[in-house]
């Protein structure tokens, strides 16, 4: 999918005039880098403001997305593409149904230990049914129960005292579901007015830099001593 921003129609007259004066790939690059930077800043903001809803330790998803935003690639002198090369962003943006690629179930993490992990990383889980938050029973991967033991010091007769400790396990690690529907969320990308603002700022700065450079060059030519 491509999200095309028709920034040209929304620019102020001043910036449009500058662009007309400074036509060429440099201006397009400057504008597109402005878009890339605004997009990165937007994802940095999401990293700060959107922790996972379950309160599990951060996986830094939005920081990862930010790191995948590339600087623009020009296509001709008039257009550029800013790419976001991340496996998860399309699903967040466009939503849709998720079904398992292999097997019957998707695994939904149910605790902090499971979050950001695959079920196959654990060797101590078994299939079962557990009470979900609505009071019903749902299929789940549940931690095996185990008994802790405390082994005492070696006695004179060579034996040790073994005391049973607490019993562990029984905790739900993953809920198993056949499919998930995720709603589209266009707010994961910056709104168009912010991108247009970023283009104007970037092109404006670029133009002022080049104009100042041109003026400086002209002044240095004017003040250069005459060659006899």
């Amino acid at each position: 999918m491509r999200l095309t921003l028709k920034v040209r129609e929304n620019l102020t007259a001043t910036t449009a005039a500058l662009i007309a004066e400074l036509r060429g790939p440099g201006t397009v690059t400057a504008a597109a880098v402005g878009v890339a930077n605004e997009t990165r800043d937007w994802f940095a903001g999401l990293e700060q403001t959107r922790p996972n809803k379950m309160g599990f330790p951060r996986s830094h998803f939005w920081s990862d997305v930010r790191g995948s935003v590339q600087n623009p690639q020009l296509s001709g002198d008039q257009a550029a593409t800013v790419a976001i090369t991340h496996v998860g962003i399309r699903q967040r943006l466009e939503g849709g149904k998720i079904v398992p690629l292999k097997g019957e179930y998707l695994t939904i993490p149910a605790n902090a230990q499971a979050y950001s992990h695959l079920a196959r990383e654990f060797h101590n889980l078994h299939f079962g049914f557990a009470e979900n938050r609505y009071g019903g029973l749902s299929p789940a991967l549940i931690e095996n129960t185990s008994q802790e033991f405390t082994v005492g010091r070696k006695k004179k007769d060579g034996t040790r005292t073994v005391k049973p400790g607490r019993e562990r396990g029984g905790e739900v690690f993953f809920w198993l579901v056949r499919q998930v529907y995720q709603p589209a969320d266009p707010s994961v990308l910056p709104p168009e007015e912010r991108l247009v603002g970023a283009v104007e700022k970037a092109v404006g700065g670029y133009a002022r830099n080049l104009i100042a450079r041109a003026k400086g060059a002209a002044a240095s030519v004017a003040s250069a001593p005459e060659v006899p």
Binding site: R2, L3, V87, L210
Partner: protein, 271 residues
Amino acid sequence: MDLSLIAPFEEALKALAARDVLPTALDSQGLRQLGAGFHRQNFTSSQTLLTDLLDEYKSGIEAILNPTTGVSKDRETAQNPEGFVTVGRNAAQVRLAAKQLLQDLGYTAAPGEQGTIKDLSSNARINLVIQTNKDISQGAGWFIQSQDPAALDAFPAQELVRIEGRKEPRDWRLRWEQALAAAGDAPGIAAFQASGRMIARKDSGVWQALGDGAGGYDDSLGNPFPPFAFQSGMGVRDIGYDEALALNLIQAGEAVRPQLPADLASLFGMN
């Protein structure tokens, strides 16, 4: 202007591809002494002699950096009528593959090291390898892309910023001051004193000094681009011409020159 969800991150992939897998018995301190140029040409991990494991990491990180686009009827929505789906690997899948490989190889951690960073099969170790190498590849790719002359004219400076929170963040303001001093970046020092922000020209030596751990830090990665140090959580953001001018980092109309380490310049034909 297009925002695309499909184009590969070619510079990041090329920076990763340029690194040959090299098993080594050196620890992290020994590896650090070999310098950043060595690490930009070799894919290593501290005290890892298992070539298969390094190969697995490298191919896994490549798959993270280079997702592809497929089509699935399940994914058809009003926003995505074609049913496009991004296909690639995430860190958890790469971690699982590494764990399975180590299990197949019969690897067991040394007594007393299970679960620690020295245990090649621990989450902490595997996550560190994946995250660091992914971040370095993306950092290199972004750094290369930012050397475009027009990009430098529009955005001649950059700011060191925290991207990811940390439970015990390192003192990056102190590190910044030490790096500025090491680089002798007078405009950067003045900008820091005036604004309190960690901003410098893109051609300042402060970025390399930061990557070199100026001030005596042993966690740095040797590169003039993020993440600068292991699990730093730090990144950079571009600063535009007008702001750089206001901070007296550049003069009106001044051009900032591309600054590339020789090996990267050679790799990307930017000599």
